[in-house]
């Protein structure tokens, strides 16, 4: 997810972090792209750390993901405006810095830009300790970091609240598609069914089983994802026993992160579908 070579540098990276963030805060001469890179790497490191937790903090993850998105958008706009730079993210044009200054930091644009241009490729020598610990992060890396953490947060099986769209006194719960389920039945079964259905629910949509889930899952299952690099049998329809569908999914050790996440989602959703089937069939 992060650039190659991260693992080797991780411990040095962490050691540098506290020093780097103080440098960010106190330094007036740190060029904007370097600051941005620093913040970006801090964000990605945090997201990486959160992914290792069993239950990442949703609030923080969203805030950090938004920061990465903001930086990503900025870098995209710059790369759209300029031809490819040797040092990604550094735009020689002065105007791209307008309004981007952090308080207290003066970029001294007229002379600063010239300096940064000439330092563009010399950063490695001038800011050596800082530059060495900052990794080049691609747009794809950022996107996959964001989607990875957010998907993780959805991995938690969603137990939507037992909702009742009518006030108390009316004893027939309006669960769409589930008119057979009564509140008087064993509550455990009810909650079990809701656990499963909940993950497909969009607020109180009455047609949640018709919309979202099945079609979206099948959209992701696209054989073109698996050609050449992978050799596997085509995925079987979801009503098969979950073991059989999981087996081929497990044979992709070289998946890149984005397809791994899709597969993870497929696997999750497929097993949930199986679970639904079991309940509906009453086994």
């Amino acid at each position: 997810m992060l650039g190659r070579g991260l693992k080797r540098k991780l411990s040095d990276y962490e050691e540098n972090m506290a020093g780097l963030s103080s440098a960010f805060d106190s330094s007036r001469s740190l060029p904007y792209p370097l600051k941005r890179q620093l913040v970006l790497n801090m964000c990605l490191t945090k997201l990486q750390t959160y992914k290792m937790l069993v239950e990442p903090n949703l609030h923080r993850s969203v805030l950090i993901a938004n920061t990465v998105r903001q930086i990503q958008e900025e870098m995209r706009q710059e790369s759209n405006q300029q031809p490819v730079n040797i040092c990604p993210g550094i735009a020689p044009a002065a105007h791209s810095y307008a309004g981007m200054e952090s308080p207290g930091i003066s970029l001294q644009l007229p002379s600063g830009v010239g300096q940064q241009e000439s330092h563009c490729c010399d950063l490695r020598s001038v800011e050596d300790p800082i530059e060495n610990s900052l990794l080049i992060v691609s747009d794809d890396d950022m996107s996959s970091a964001i989607s990875s953490i957010l998907k993780d947060l959805d991995f938690v099986e969603d137990i939507s609240p037992p909702t009742c769209l009518v006030p108390t006194g009316d004893d027939q719960p309006k669960f769409p598609e589930n008119t057979g389920l009564k509140l008087e039945d064993d509550r455990q079964d009810l909650k079990g069914a809701e656990c499963v259905f909940g993950s497909f629910e969009i607020s109180n949509s009455t047609s949640y089983l018709k919309d979202l889930a099945i079609d979206d899952i099948f959209e992701d299952i696209d054989t073109s994802m698996y050609d050449s690099d992978f050799c596997c049998p085509p995925l079987m329809p979801p009503r098969s026993p979950s073991l059989a569908t999981e087996e081929p999914l497990k044979t992709f050790p070289s998946c890149n992160s984005s397809s791994a996440n899709n597969i993870q989602i497929c696997r999750t959703d497929l097993s949930e579908l199986d679970h639904i089937m079991e309940i509906l069939v009453g086994s």
Binding site: A18, M42, L58, H59, L63, P161, S203
Partner: protein, 449 residues
Amino acid sequence: LLAGFGSLMQDVLWCFSQVKGTIDTGVTESDIISTVEFNHTGELLATGDKGGRVVIFQREQESKNQPHRRGEYNVYSTFQSHEPEFDYLKSLEIEEKINKIRWLPQQNAAYFLLSTNDKTVKLWKVSERDKRPEGYNLKDEDGRLRDPSMITVLRVPVLRPMDLMVEATPRRVFANAHTYHINSISVNSDYETYMSADDLRINLWNFEITNQSFNIVDIKPANMEELTEVITAAEFHPHHCNTFVYSSSKGTIRLCDMRTAALCDRHAKFFEEPEDPSNRSFFSEIISSISDVKFSHSGRYIMTRDYLTVKVWDLNMENRPIETYQVHDYLRSKLCSLYENDCIFDKFECVWNGSDSVIMTGSYNNFFRMFDRNTKRDVTLEASRENSKPRAILKPRKVCVGGKRRKDEISVDSLDFSKKILHTAWHPSENIIAVAATNNLYIFQDKVN
């Protein structure tokens, strides 16, 4: 009166009254106070901690013999509200930390409060027992059943006095309604319903019904990758039982009317201040995340707390707050370091005084700040053991931003960021405040002349 001493607001001088908790330098994690709340009369003060315990203090009757001890708060009841749980389905531990306590208004001799952890809300009844029945026919004083054939006389059990016993019993458990972590609970002014809010949803409960709740707000996107905003706090209007507000991680507040639709996904009002371009940084969004929202007692204003400021909003003006107070603006130049050590995610709460004229919130280094809305004066005070002599007047503190540091000032770099005051409470009608400093609870009162 020495110049420079004492609070500058309304001639109120804040004095140390009491401190609860151990003096040990090593803090047991479970003793960290996580919520503080006065009840509606101010007679009771409840704290919740990370260990899932609730401690309720009761104000003693003021005595004419000791007028300077203006009603001290003593322990009234202690109970274990929540236990750590393990969710086997998801392989997750559920923390027992009490996130919020909210009192119900008193309607009979017993006291009721709601306490919540990340997943489950509980209604607790706290009641006194100072009499017990004696002289049962079928059992003896130890509770053992008597041999019926030995009973020859019938008697009426009588109530005899006993030592006061305060019992806390869980009356309702509202569980299994939140996938994400509960951050707020709020009792409705109808006293029949309350709401609980997690990161993505808000549920409405009836106190009598524990197996159902109405989902009234749901901001979870169909695709979690599109998630950019979470709910951070929510509260009912103090008088209008159909109105509530919730704040978001993007610095916005939505006011909703439950009469318009069952699912309040459309807000009636949307409060957002346009971003100040001169203050823009990588951390702008993070520091705009609202950590607390509180209606004024009058119901005319809402107050929000984000990382660096407290803002007061008029319900009738959505496009900007009517007042903005800088809590610790000197941290603006330290945001990267505060991001690195996660302090930037600290969730500070804010409170109104009884007359809505003064607002209070916490900061670092065990500092807390008060802002007088009328005089526009503010003061920084500190909760520390050094200032803990009985009725000692609190000296205002000052943080030195740059340049020469005066003798009593503290420089920004010397601030202790591990000593954070996140939770404070203000007595509903008097100048008595409770300030939670990690594992200690400080109670300050205004000086009695």
